[in-house]
Structures are given as C-alpha cells and as structure tokens.
Symmetry: C2
Amino acid sequence: MNPTDKHIRVTLIGAGNVGTQLGYNLKQSGCDIRQVWSAHLANAERLAERLGATATDRTEDLADGSDVYLYAVKDDALQDMAKTVSPTGGIHIHTAGAVSMDIFKGKKERYGVLYPMQTFSKGRRISFADVPIFIEASSAETETYIRTLAKSLSHTVTSCSSEERKVLHLAAVFCCNFPNVLYDIAHSLLRETSIPFETMFPLMSETIEKLRLMTPREAQTGPAVRGDEQAMARHLSLLEGNDNWQDIYRTLSQTIASLHAEGEQIKK
Amino acid sequence: MNPTDKHIRVTLIGAGNVGTQLGYNLKQSGCDIRQVWSAHLANAERLAERLGATATDRTEDLADGSDVYLYAVKDDALQDMAKTVSPTGGIHIHTAGAVSMDIFKGKKERYGVLYPMQTFSKGRRISFADVPIFIEASSAETETYIRTLAKSLSHTVTSCSSEERKVLHLAAVFCCNFPNVLYDIAHSLLRETSIPFETMFPLMSETIEKLRLMTPREAQTGPAVRGDEQAMARHLSLLEGNDNWQDIYRTLSQTIASLHAEGEQIKK
C-alpha cells in the first residue's frame, strides 16, 4: 500500500454533504472509489453512480480490500460505525472536527482523522485545493499515508491532535455557523425594505479582508465599540417585538464593549 | 453649480476613518477639497495636507462658497454640527447610516445623505468603487446632484429613505460588527492552540460565498442545525470559565434551532 500510487482504493462511508464533496475531490485526485455506503440506499446509489462505485446501505456488505475506509457520517453515529464496519484492514479515517481519533481504538489497527475545515451544503461544489485539512493518525507511518492523501486534495495540510481539533472546531462554529445566523437575521430585517440582501456582500467581505491586516479586536467598528448609546437604543427599538433578536443585540454589544474596555485598561 | 463639473468644491467636516477615506476618494474622483475640520486640529492638519486643503478645528472658521459640506462626524455630534456649521449655502450632506436627514431641516436650505455602507478602519485604504452608497435628499434637484457625486465614487448608488436606512444600518451591524466580535472570540480560542487564525479565512469566505447561491437559512450548517446535542455539550464545556462566551454560544445555537424548527413546520 503506497500512498503515491495513482489509484488508492477508497470505501466511502456516508453520502451527505461532506461525503459527496470528498468523493468528488478524491476521484478527481485519482482515487478509485470502490464502494459507497449510506443509511439511505438512494443517496448511496446517487453518489456511487457519479463516482463509478457500487452502493450499499448494509454495513455487513462493506468489502475488505480497500486501502482507505473514509467515514463521513454524523458525529453521533461515528462511534457505532467504527464498531459495525467489519473490515479491519486498511486505514480507517473519520472526517469530523469534534470527535476524537480514539473512537477507532481497539477496533481497527490503523486509523486516523482527515478533517476538512469547510462548510458544505448541497448544490455548491467545493474545490478542496484551498480547504485547510487537519490530520491525525495512530502511528507515524499511518500519518505519512494520510498526509499524502490529504495533500492530493489540498495545499494546506496540518497535523493536529484530537484536543486541538476540538478547539479548532469550536472556533469554526464562531467563524461560520454563528455569523451565518446573524446574516439570517439581517436577511429577515431587509425583507421589510426594498434593499436586496446582496447589497451586504461588499461589507461582509471587507469585514473579513480587514483581518488580513489587523486583529478582530483592532478591526471592530460600530455603535458598541464607539459607546454610541443613542444608536444602540434606536436599534433595539427597531427590534421590538422580537425578544430573541434584542437579546442577541444586547449580548453581542455588551461583549464588544467589555472586550474593548479591557483593552483600554491594558493601554493605561 | 453643476455636478458634472470636474471640480466640485468640498468642505470636509470630520477627519476620522470615514472622513479620511471619503476625502481620498473624492479627491481622486476630481473634487476640490477646500477645507477640513476636525475637533482635533492635528487630525484636520494631517488629512488636509494630503488633500491639498486648509485645516481648522473651529466651526466658525468654516468658509462659505463650497458646493458641498460633507459631514463625517460621530452620530451623536451630527445634530449639533448641523446647527453650528455657519455656512448655509451649498448642499449639506451627512454620511451616517442611523441618523435621519431631518437634522438639517430648518437649518440648511439644501441637504441630504450619502451613506457609504462599509467598515472603515485606520491603516486600510478602501476603494469606494464597490461600496454601496445610499442617498437621500431634500429635493429632487438636490438628489440628482448627490447622485452624480455618489456615482463618481461608486458603481452602486441607491435611493433610500431615512426609515429604510435605519433598518439597513441595523442589518449592517448584524453583517459586520457582530460577526467581527465572533471572529474575535475565535481568535482568542485559537491562541491556546498552535493553529494560526489565518487558517480560518477559507471557511469565513466560503460562509459568505455560499450566500450568492442560497439564503442564509438554507446555508446553515453546524451542530445546532443538526441538533447534535453531544457536540454542543462538548463545546460548552470547552468554554467553561467564560460565562459570556457560553451565553453567546447558547443564545445563537437556540436561535439557529428555533429558526429551523419554524422552517420544518412551514414545510409540513
């Protein structure tokens, strides 16, 4: 088994957003996807057809002989899958940010993690080239193998322990899932106006681009960091009738104010 | 006074982040910046020198004869400035998202708003070409003038009432200031690891890019929308010791869950 072989044989366990995108990108990088498993046979079949693989919804049908068994199932299901997937040969790799590598311990011989830190949705195809991939492995030799596989997908491959990966995954929630729900609220607010949501894109992009030059602390703008109580009171009154959004507005504004008050004290 | 003249004469009131960036861009588009006012003379002088203007920190020294008096001061100060700026000729334009045009009513004859919706920080020069600008004016004729001025700065110029602009400004807080404080928390979390904050950029960018194809509701990913209680419990335990961050985590996760529960009900 040599990771520089053109045709690493892969069994793909999971055909959701992550599994689908991984499947496409692995195939493109020259892997031979042999089998696709999903709890829903139709999903497995749809993806398997595109990848030139066979499909199954029965873990007992998963065949021996793959170089890599790649698990892209829900976090909650991983522990069980590590047990029920019967082949023990090959390298067993899960793709979850928040789950320890140890779920494979005592169940498989060689195993590891390949966590592509990105947000995957149906209907949007992701090129893995720029997606940071974090890897971990049960041995140095296995890590070398997983690294080569990851490098065939992405420019950015980093070793990361399960402990660090947990913090990374939490940071990803704060950089993706939580900003997105704030965009969702903005989207709802703008529906009451004639202004399309697309208008916000330059602002949203610049908010990120600034961070290439300065820290988020330095980049903070808006009423809360200026201590502009009048503007904040006006905003809260616009949010009247939605306690949840008012709560978010207050909590985040207070956080901004207190983080910057700390900064002021440090300066003094 | 013809807005297509190459040299619109501008008095710039305010030399902070917005005033500075506006000054640069107006000069570049061919305006003649005559005078710069700031409460801090050194700030006025620094900017005036770059713009080929004179500097003052005394409102009584502001000269008559400009085509445009452009106010880029703090929201709280605008009402007073509209009164104390003595020239009444020319068009008086403020640049604030959250302040009504009516602060000029009864004080100036021709007035309006030119709100560039962007986040401005020292040390980062902004090209206005892609910045959406929202305008409003005291008369149709004045609006035509302000529109021409705004179009010399940006491709995207939209008329917007004071009422709509308030909602827009609130949406901007949800699209910029609030995501930024979440990035700040992620930045702090990652400092405890060996992973640099820059690693998050592809994820942050993709979170926005997805919204060109789907709504934020459709784009939502992460433990809260999956209802992955275990992952959320692990995240909350990682945040132990910081009640504020735990509070933010809980509030935003619950918001995601409830917005998507509504969606499920609508589907049924």
